[in-house]
Symmetry: D2
Subunit: 395 residues, 4 copies
Amino acid sequence: MNSENFSISEKIVSPAYIRQGSQARRSHEQLIRLLLEQGKCPEEGWSESTIELFLNELAVMDSNNFLGNCGVGEREGRVASSLVARRHYRLIHGIGRSGDIAAIQPKATGSSLLNKLTNSVVLDILKLSGVRSVASCFVVPMATGMSLTLCFLTLRHKRPKGRYIIWPRIDQKSCFKAMITAGFEPVVVENILEGDELRTDMEAVERKVQELGAENILCIHSTTSCFAPRVPDRLEKLAILSAKYDIPHVVNNAYGVNPMLMECRIDAFVQSLDKNFMVPVGGAIIAGFNESFIQEISRMYPGRASASPSLDVLITLLTLGASGYRKLLAEQKEMYTYLAQELKRLAEAHGERLLHTPHNPISLAMSLDGLQTQSGKSVTQLGSMLFTRQVSGAR
Amino acid sequence: MNSENFSISEKIVSPAYIRQGSQARRSHEQLIRLLLEQGKCPEEGWSESTIELFLNELAVMDSNNFLGNCGVGEREGRVASSLVARRHYRLIHGIGRSGDIAAIQPKATGSSLLNKLTNSVVLDILKLSGVRSVASCFVVPMATGMSLTLCFLTLRHKRPKGRYIIWPRIDQKSCFKAMITAGFEPVVVENILEGDELRTDMEAVERKVQELGAENILCIHSTTSCFAPRVPDRLEKLAILSAKYDIPHVVNNAYGVNPMLMECRIDAFVQSLDKNFMVPVGGAIIAGFNESFIQEISRMYPGRASASPSLDVLITLLTLGASGYRKLLAEQKEMYTYLAQELKRLAEAHGERLLHTPHNPISLAMSLDGLQTQSGKSVTQLGSMLFTRQVSGAR
Amino acid sequence: MNSENFSISEKIVSPAYIRQGSQARRSHEQLIRLLLEQGKCPEEGWSESTIELFLNELAVMDSNNFLGNCGVGEREGRVASSLVARRHYRLIHGIGRSGDIAAIQPKATGSSLLNKLTNSVVLDILKLSGVRSVASCFVVPMATGMSLTLCFLTLRHKRPKGRYIIWPRIDQKSCFKAMITAGFEPVVVENILEGDELRTDMEAVERKVQELGAENILCIHSTTSCFAPRVPDRLEKLAILSAKYDIPHVVNNAYGVNPMLMECRIDAFVQSLDKNFMVPVGGAIIAGFNESFIQEISRMYPGRASASPSLDVLITLLTLGASGYRKLLAEQKEMYTYLAQELKRLAEAHGERLLHTPHNPISLAMSLDGLQTQSGKSVTQLGSMLFTRQVSGAR
Amino acid sequence: MNSENFSISEKIVSPAYIRQGSQARRSHEQLIRLLLEQGKCPEEGWSESTIELFLNELAVMDSNNFLGNCGVGEREGRVASSLVARRHYRLIHGIGRSGDIAAIQPKATGSSLLNKLTNSVVLDILKLSGVRSVASCFVVPMATGMSLTLCFLTLRHKRPKGRYIIWPRIDQKSCFKAMITAGFEPVVVENILEGDELRTDMEAVERKVQELGAENILCIHSTTSCFAPRVPDRLEKLAILSAKYDIPHVVNNAYGVNPMLMECRIDAFVQSLDKNFMVPVGGAIIAGFNESFIQEISRMYPGRASASPSLDVLITLLTLGASGYRKLLAEQKEMYTYLAQELKRLAEAHGERLLHTPHNPISLAMSLDGLQTQSGKSVTQLGSMLFTRQVSGAR
């Protein structure tokens, strides 16, 4: 309520109480002020009460919620179902304009604020996670793979001769498809075994570059998150190579906001929203160290986009706060260590061993040699035993 | 958001759009201002967006939602379940104080405003419905019957010798029970048949008053809503009698906010919230023409009470607006006329007749003589046929 | 979905997955089955997902949610506002019948189940909290004070000569009012100081009983929760006295589900829902060791009542589970010990002392002698200092 | 509840009522059965109660809601914020698999059903809207423009030599951008003026085809919804031309599900979800007459996608029902006629005229010659006058 309404309220409830109520309101406003001023994830998470107040405030600024609005156009934020309106907090206009997914939408001041703030808060969290020199990022309501496609399509305009994408092998269908969909030819470079680990074969990569000719290569497409015994690509070496041959470098960083990312020729990196921020599937962050290139990508999205993933990630980060997010990262590390230790014990008890893959901080692999030799028992059976015990995620 | 936050927002989204957004917010504030200033039901219903904004504003004024609140007492609005918190819009403190259900609660400025406004808006609607000179009312989270009990208990203190309650017969268990629970002896006065109508037997009432002695009578307890062929009590005549013998007069007006109510000795009248305002069962309005007596009743409720019925009725009246409420009243009339007409046709087609009960504006009765005489068919069977066809409410 | 719909779904999504989905549904059903079968609070709390599923299931059983229902009566669970319908999970019919607040409501099978289960789960929690031989209880949507009033009104019918209520003094307005509202004369018995504690003066109580005559006394009204240095009444001794003189004994147990309660002549005890179950203000539990007397009370409530407090307490207990509730009780004890220790340190640092009140397990008192003697400083000032620091609940 | 739980309930509430409740549940199940069996939009809209019951049923089938699930993978439908979980009805896993946006997701049976049913119901509505021979469609959580990009990218694999897209001019940035982003060269064909209407210049289109060579043309990209005085492209003639030269034909049908669409060489058409189904911005439908080509497109989306737009459109269509949707279409026509009539009157009153554009059924244009000649008054001023009067959508 504004000060006028607080004054009137003093005639209904005693002025001292109204003053206290108005101060209480002010303390929520202060949190909102900090967010608007700094564009950073608050250190401490907000209460649901503050979050909903804030989202309501954003919604009333969108033209579909104007009292007395007379919308005669084709795109006026009309909603037929109140269930739908409610679940979007009446933020109906989506984000961006036809020209740019990161742009301000004149009919939707609140949604525009939401979009800008989300991108800003996410940037802050990327820095906090270790990518200190990241310059720009934006949330897209598309899968990681489709977001990579958009990056590749943007590069096409800068490298009209680029036909190939150099890609150290990684067994994930959507990464491969991202290149195919964009219309490029993936050049798969097999990894080499170092100890138990499957690592980027730098020499093979460089050979390919020389063989195909740098100008014919759209970009190098590396991956930082994968299942053991594959370990993340040698990002720094690939980045140096990229710089040496002046080839763009796009990083699929889907599974982890990754502290090792550095500037030395990484043009863009993409990460999954759900894997990094515990929100529903369907969004990604496209980020980079060069603001203007990231803007170019954001200007390639044709049309206004769904605000739903942005809304989810903003609510989530405001709820967790930076401290909550750090806590989750710490827990993840702890769990990893614990899992490694217990898996090792288990492996040894069965004459198997936990593979030594120290460069992979998110995944573990163990041998199943015994299963393969024994008749009547198979890896498939193990899989179905895990399935019926509701253990999912093992491969 | 306050003006400071709007200013900061201008650095994120262009000032012109923020200004428009801020004006849009202002238009919601204007509606709230009118409500606070006039305490009346708005002519036009509010959008859900304005209602939720308003309820959020109320909630942040309650101490359980203060950021940094340190509650060490036994009653601090603690809520264990977020489902529960949410469904009450985080208004947890209830209404009233131990001293008075209509009083301001220091720990809950927002809930207190809610309570005061609800009572004020309901008073306005009572006037609009035809009870123009009603002076005061309040919502209680109790059934109509229990609310009548509270009225009788209040009267006891004013009439220590009163043992009897004069009650023109009406076949509703809870009305009877209301008197028994309060500890009084109902004196049932049978009605007389005038044409098809069962009406108050004024002579019998007066005889009873004389017989028992006015000072031994706690009050006359009349009823304005009932099932045909019973028609509403002769309220004006009972009121004149009450005045003549100086006996309080309490009206059970459960089923209908009733325009015929007049001042001439009605001490209090009670109506059901769900029947008159389309909210969940469980609340009532206690109203009257003498403010101080209604206050006495409100001061008899020992303890703080549930705000839930008040919240429901306020949301409902803000949603409907006075115009929406009037429209519902008009529809009810139309439906009644239509039902009467069709029931008449039906009755005639089966050799029965619709009883002529013009004094009962909410209920209709038809003869079922044919059923009673025919062997093998019974009223019970008809009832069960209606039941299996999901027709409820017939008697 | 029923098995038929699962079968049809197998044509859309593969049968193996549908089977798994159907088993998942079954695991929720199992939880519901246990609840229905045992009527006890589940040991582990339910997920919100199970709770909402269950409430939806209840709601579809109420006639207002019947598809194709044709309600022509005055009480059909009509709701004008979808905000209101939603916040009550579409359970609109309230609880009980005009005859009995604990009775089954024919138009509302789901709400009736809700009512029965809530009372049953609450009974289980009372036992778990230490009142092992409690026989019956029910939730009423009324303040503790008003619930006490209802108990007293019920007793009136059993003890027509009872005019007085013996009441060891306790400074809580609503307890006093509960007796006044019911129309009885409170006979206040002052407490005696034992050490730092203010305790029930058993001799004075007995003297009063003899003086007034047992048959003229409606009941003894004792209190188990209070602010130090007052300590809970000597319940066992009062119960023995009650038995000796054959006087009913009603216990105000508002602030704490209290393990010391015993059978030896306690007719009914009342506790606040919000203080014991962390739900919004406005409900109470009326309980006792004699099922038939508790039923008599439940039959005194005239009319159907609000289901809102029952819904809140059921959601809360299903969310917490018995283990969660026990954990809260344990935390409360820990917090008390910690508070006592720190208050003692604080008191000593300022030359004051923490009063020794071992019989009061929920409240602490410290001397403020220094404040009273020093000029320019007062107890009021201390209060306002606490207030501005948002510390509430201190007295 | 399953039949077992209904049986147990009969011990708590009387069997007759439970039976009625169970039948009531069955009537909801019947609606769900019809939907599952037929995959069509129900003729009559569902109540919110049925919709929420259904969504809850879907959610419990997803593995993130399995009680006792042990998810160790990177994608387990984890959600940090309960606000977020709730607003998605706990459907967290998105839609599709990395291989195909229309595929079944093993971890999410409920979301998979949602996806399949939504596509099926939308197909039904497309047919109902007049596109009777449409064979296949799917919802994508992307803007119309980005969806067109995906269509063009799919065509690239079928027409490796295709560099140009023939595009009858239309002033919408995102349509143009859709081609640029996909990496093709738009060949703009100017329209010709026929009376007041701007129409497709069929001769110019054919000239361009011959000039560039059919094999070098990726596709013809036509538009069926636009602002007057531009009228929809001559779809039939373009389709005949497409067939003649064997060039794919992609139709941007954004603003209107359009009954004139016919089979004669239309490879795919795309429409906006928000403009056609009154849901939040951000989704589109890709549809066509050849099932296998539409499947090819759905297999081009790399990764799992957001279920949010599918959820919105399913809720909306279940709420409206086919009858509700038809009613909206009829209203739209009525409003258009009314607007045309009133605009004509207004134009004539000011010496202007309403342009005669009978081929454009969704947009109207009037001359503003007077404004342009008068000094001191300008079109811009008119625009700002409309803006301050909250009239949006005029151009």
